[in-house]
Subunit: 226 residues, 2 copies
Amino acid sequence: MRETTISNTVLERLAIYYRSLKRLEENKVDYISSKELGEILGISSDQIRRDLYDFRMDISYYHDFGVRGRGYPVSYLLKILEKSLGLNNNVEIALIGAGSLGGALISYDEFKKIGLNIKYVFDINFNKAIRDLAGIEFYDVEQIDEILTKNQVKMAIIAVPAKAAQDVADIIVEAGVELILNFAPTYIEVPNNVMVRNEDLSIGLIGLSYYLSNKESELTFVKNLG
Amino acid sequence: MRETTISNTVLERLAIYYRSLKRLEENKVDYISSKELGEILGISSDQIRRDLYDFRMDISYYHDFGVRGRGYPVSYLLKILEKSLGLNNNVEIALIGAGSLGGALISYDEFKKIGLNIKYVFDINFNKAIRDLAGIEFYDVEQIDEILTKNQVKMAIIAVPAKAAQDVADIIVEAGVELILNFAPTYIEVPNNVMVRNEDLSIGLIGLSYYLSNKESELTFVKNLG
DNA sequence: TAGATTGTTAATCGATTAACAATC
DNA sequence: TAGATTGTTAATCGATTAACAATC
């Protein structure tokens, strides 16, 4: 894989900028300054300018993204981001695990909007209510290798229970998958050429829980004082 | 809110350690070294020791967590983490939005396992299949203020479409909610005393898309050479 | 021109890694 | 005692913020 200099942190924010710019374009906004965008997103304008600068260096882009005194041209910047992030290319994605979380991902609009399409869905259980959805093909997990290899699927989402995640990962990697979004609450081991992103739903909630319990102990403390 | 010195990055890893320790305890493991834990989690042993050290300083804990030459006593460390993260306290959470994502969250086992219970569910649509689930109370969004105020609910999950998210946030904050896990793909503005965590499902996928398109352009490059 | 805002460098801040004495 | 592993400080690395000249 090419060594990109761009960090995950910056990449995540670029994704956020992308989505915001898209909405701005829909609303026929021509220019947006880093200050305005920052207010919309709760990010400092310094940070936004710096991220876009780093990104421009990363893709070795000649011209400036913005116009001094005016801001960034929405459609122009959007197009560059779209191209570099590989969006709206109609990428076909496999989903393994069609339980309630998998079902939610299938009907999650945000993926489709950016051209990332869950097309092949695998589960051990064939009798699911979500089966008759348009544009999606349902298969048994037995067929993963066959279908993914044949269709050269490179990206997959794991939405199976934690204890099945590593087995599933092994199978899809064997079938040629190189990019995995892992919703199973466990670490999975893959070869060097494969990239995994963990999307762990409970981590965020645990973080909040920490602050809640701190808040409460503070309240107790205040009460004890008064 | 008390100024905690612990960073979000560390906090997230503590949540990961917690879950791992829980599994180790179930498997009757007495001691685990930072090296072994690191191998399970794909995190360096240095990082783990340092995180636990920072955490210990943060909670002003006298005694060492680990035993030199042996590692960390699983149950002991688990108990400390549990207490400090406020887990297994049977916290009652409100969920606003019972669409397919909301439905998936309701049946997501990981939350329950750590004592974070989605108890009050609100939606504009009363005719949902998920309605007849045990231990959960369904209400119309009209009743948010009444129910949350009465039951002093402090934590809530937003799983409504992006354009409704800010309105929902305003209502639940008004009703006394102080901690929000936001699944809507948009930034929401809240007062200073309220904490929001964004759980944005498409950001991770966009990140992968970036690497996919880089990989492909590299392949094209190699092909062009040969 | 005056005002606004970018691009970019330098300064600061925070997080990770390295190293090793302490000690089980 | 020898081997292992923690606790903790110092060194390094990376990310954010500040600052301001360039320029629309």
